[in-house]
Amino acid sequence: MSKQSEVTWLFQMAWRDSRRSKSRLFLFISSIILGIAALVAIYSFNDNLKKDIDHQAASLIGADLVLSTNKQPSEKTEEYLKQLGDERSSEKSFVSMILFNRSGGSRLVQVRALEGKFPFYGQIETVPKGAAQELSNSNSALVDKTVMLQFGASNGDSIRLGEQSFIISGTLESVPGQTGLSSSIAPVVYIPMAYLQGTGLMQKGSRVNYSFRYRFGDPERLRKELKSIKTFAENASMDVDTIESTKEETGNTFQNMTEFMSLVAFIALLLGCIGVASAVHIYVKEKVASVSILRCLGATASQTTLIYLIQIALVGLAGSVFGSLLGLLIQQVLPAVMRDFLPIEITASVSYPAVLQGISTGLLVSIVFSILPLLTVRKVSPLNTLRASVDTSNSTPDRLKALVYFIIIIFLVSFAYLQLGDLKQAGIFTAGIALCFLILVAIANLLTKLARRYFPSNWAYLYRQGFSNLFRPNNQTVILIVCIGLGTALISTLMLVKDMLIDKVTTSSAEGKANMVLFDIQSSQKEAVAELTRGRGLPVMQQVPIITMRIEEIRGVTASEARRDTTLDVPARAFNSEIRSTFRDSLTSSEKIVDGAWVGKVAAGNAKVYVSLEKRYAERLRVRVGDEMTFNVQGALVPVIVGSFREVDWNNIQTNFRVVFPSGVLENAPQFHVLMTRLESPQQAAEFQQAIVLNFPNISIIDLNLVLNVLDNLMDKLGFVIRFMAGFSIITGIIVLITSVLISRYQRMRENVLLRTLGASTRQVLTITALEYFFLGALAGITGILLSFMAGWGLARYNFKIAFSPDLLPSLLLLISVCMMTVVIGLLNSKSTLNAPPLEILRKEG
């Protein structure tokens, strides 16, 4: 046969053979449809996100140039800033308490005092419209809609910030660059800059962020000036943002998110691939007779293998096209799913590269994952035509099989590399996936073996029959446990993490522990605040001084030297952040010295000052015990020696510090104080907050109950996204389940028919089928929940550092749902075989 006619014949045979099993072939491939759909949806979403960031970057930042700092700019800096750009706007932002005069409610908000016409691009959306433009004219304020809702406030109500009252002139709907989520965590209140002074909140030591925003009429001018602006900003410890850098930063932020999502989609695809491999395995078993006839008639091993490979590839292509179309549909809902995390409006246009990528990935995976089971076709003996069962198993290692495994690994690593752009991460991802699958397969095998070993032989016949189907030949137990188990594990882990986080905060506010933190207390207010607290019968559980400072030198190296010379082993970023430190003569219960020696007091005279650093912070600074450092305490330089490293239990709700000074050094430095107390009822909390805000308007309050609510809200939103993504894996599991049920029904059919011929009623056969799927669902559910408990234990022990005590009720409910779902799908799919007349099937089988 010539090469060309051989190829034609192979395609012809593939087509002929598929005619009577097209629907079944498509069923195999349907397992990957959802994975492809998820990939295409996320690739398209990613493409659109990039385009939209490019288009909307200007309104994201609201200006051509933004300079920001948390240090009060010097006069010289102010002079410089005044001459930049064609239009200017400045903002001072800080956290403070807001008091609603009508309801008496108060909460912590982010106050932004605005001057100038910000934003130059995009807009601050308010109800009524245009309220932002009117802001500078009066003592009016714009208040975030979530806070308005919380306190039942409406436009026209008055609020109090510090010592100044403001009329709410508008409700903030959206602010440039802010997501729905960030507004619920730190709601914003805009006030005119001119009225800031009147609040009395700007005092020495207050933590304020200064932003200076500019519009450049001529973008070329900005390009020319940018270099010198950056140099100036670096020296003045200011951050510089432009539209370009915002594009990049926003892109980077969301790249992580889309990478995560495409990897989750890839996992769904992988589950589907395993489904394909397992389905093809059964399909090939059924084709052994045809293959041996063809071999007998003179077809070569490679010809027969190619016939089925062509079939699978063509159906894989059809499945991928279908999956891509479905992906384009799913893509329409992604922007809604992700809305709370996105600072921009996402369009949902068709991305052709994404569709192409989806189709090629689908084609590739259907080929790669079906080759493994198809390899057995090569070994089918023509002798099968003469004898019903010929053992073609070969104990010698198969090189081709090893090569296919190698190709699969290369494919996985390459795919992960394409998503992550880092070979090491891609390797870790692949190894992680492999480990996860191995654990699932191991658990599945173990459970199946245990089921066989401890077979309940004293059970009633129907139960025994249903149970033993789990480990009979051609069972789908392992593949289904892997698919449904992984989906269950993802959902169960999510539930456990949510519980752990909530528990953690709840435990923190448990009886006897502080649940309200007052900060920004001036030294002069310290006693009065404590008095007010005690006066209401509340305990003053902790009162700690806090001094803000920066690092000036590490081992004699300054910030600019560290930036210039990276060989000095001093990280330049260590100098950027403001440090909040304290002084005391003893350790707290949540601290432990792990290196060096604790020095609680400075000896009189010019004795050396030994500070204690938190261990992980010290590692980031790359300092050792005995190193010299200099701190800039609001202008005064304080040289110190690193005396010890502490391990700090950050989980305790109490004031913990990275840097602790001994007493006798900072007593006279400008400082503010933190006070912790405990309130028993929400009513008591509201009254106490109100009293504090009225008497000491500069003091901010963190109410742990509010934190708990915010956390709950955050977890709900995050949970929705994770559930959405885990949904792909679960639904793929369901499709694999349907596929497996449909495939195995041909095997079960004969058995069921024989049972019915022997006198079993439909109800009895139905019970056996229901029990089989119940056991299958139970094993898969238990495997998934076990895996999630392993993950939960690891997270509790190493990440959250709390005892792992899962609530068993939600897990039990999840297990019941998985079982019920499996039984329903199993029964629905087996219905047609249960209703078929016995003779019809016996004739076919004969």
Binding site: S290, I293, R295, L297, G298, A299, L383, L386
Partner: protein
Amino acid sequence: MTENILSVNNLSKVYKAGGHDLTVLRDVTFSVKKGSMVSIVGPSGSGKTTLLGLCAGLDNSSAGSVYINDIRIDNLSEDEKAGIRSRYTGFIFQNFQLLPTLTVLENVMVPLELRGEKDIKRGALELLEKVGLGERSHHYPTQLSGGEQQRVALARAFSNRPDILFADEPTGNLDAETGEKIVKLIFELNRESGTTLLLVTHDLELASRTQRIIRLKGGELISDLSTQPNQQ
């Protein structure tokens, strides 16, 4: 070139079973002349089907050699043996062995397609006409009765004009009447095409209608007799 189409020399087949050697065929030697019709008979388990499988290159022997058209096939690779089958042999099986997903016509065409032959449809249809199934060419095997399926198998077996036809209990799954029709058809087609026939059967009446009977018992050849008067 000899006048033998098939030569079997000292052929043995040993299976490993439960750590023991099980000899199913021992030191069998015979040859078959071109155009002749030979039966292999013997009780169940005597090694008939094993011998047929080895002669057709469907299985590997433990010792000895097999020649088809003077080509030694027992030491060829699987694909080379497939090539030999495609060029020189045809098969009829007890359980018909039609490809269930192919139509009747396609089943008949497959051997020719495997040889890369062109314009084969007419020949295949003619063969189907000969076996009386011209009208059923577009049916699938499951839509046919057992006898009809075996007639399709016959048409397929003769489609590549084989030098030798291997038949394994061709009437074993059919009733007496249908079986008789099939036997007549086999002999008729065989005579027309001058093909050699090697028939495995336990039906002595059928065997007696061939020119020669080889008897097997316990894996050994116990007799090789001509059914024609005055011939060995």
